[in-house]
Symmetry: C2
DNA sequence: GCATTATATGCTGATATCAACATATATCAA
DNA sequence: TTGATATATGTTGATATCAGCATATAATGC
């Protein structure tokens, strides 16, 4: 096994900093490849390839308009990340709750004296 | 450039599914290497190495207890992920707000007729 | 000290990944 | 049609990454 291939796993696709930069440029809305290239200091083929990976995992969508291709963010595909993080938050909160209860118990014992 | 090295970047460290599994086992609390090995179907050296990577990026901490090493989750280091995601949520909400305003405008125009 | 248990590290070979460059495809305009 | 613009794809070489195995280190118990 290993890294489940950059093209099938959202986590993997996001592992590359350049790819995250590309994604960042799409936050403000749909953009053509050229616009992204201009904004970032990457070559056009480089951007195209990163977009390809992002599209393969569904993080971006694409529509053709004349000779340009407009890419857009598919934020729904960030759900796996969300869920994953939520799991950890949940665990953290549970842990904090337990600490909290423990502290309350200590306090009650103190009051009983 | 490229992947900023699995040992320096949280995103990169989380790119590996096995590493995420290891991390998952720590959600319920501190565990020794052997306990993790037992729970997952990985070799001991494999787990040790993944833990090393996780420790390098600060996602886990470690303390020695006799001949065992107890690893614990350092959930604070998930902040980069959080912040990154938050940025996208923010953007999505703003976008939705705009759609909302637009719809309201349309509605008002309709009422004015 | 010696054996045992728990964990870490070193090495190897297979595979993946990336940037860079060249080149192909497609659309538009004259 | 020809040329220009916009984007995608192919190839290469350097590097990273992983699993697997062997081995080293360290703590414990006899």
């Amino acid at each position: 096994m290993a890294r489940s291939s950059t093209t099938s796993d959202v986590f993997n696709a996001l592992a590359d900093a350049h790819r995250r930069e590309v994604l960042d440029t799409l936050i403000t809305g749909e953009k053509a490849v050229g616009a992204i290239v201009k904004r970032l200091s990457m070559s056009q083929p480089q951007v195209s390839k990163h977009l390809r990976v992002l599209r393969a995992v569904g993080l971006v969508g694409c529509r053709a308009e004349g000779r340009r291709r407009l890419y857009r963010l598919e934020s729904a595909r960030l759900a796996p990340l969300h869920e994953w993080l939520a799991k950890y938050e949940q665990a953290m909160n549970d842990r904090l709750d337990r600490v909290d209860n423990y502290l309350k118990e200590l306090q009650q014992q103190g009051e009983r004296r």
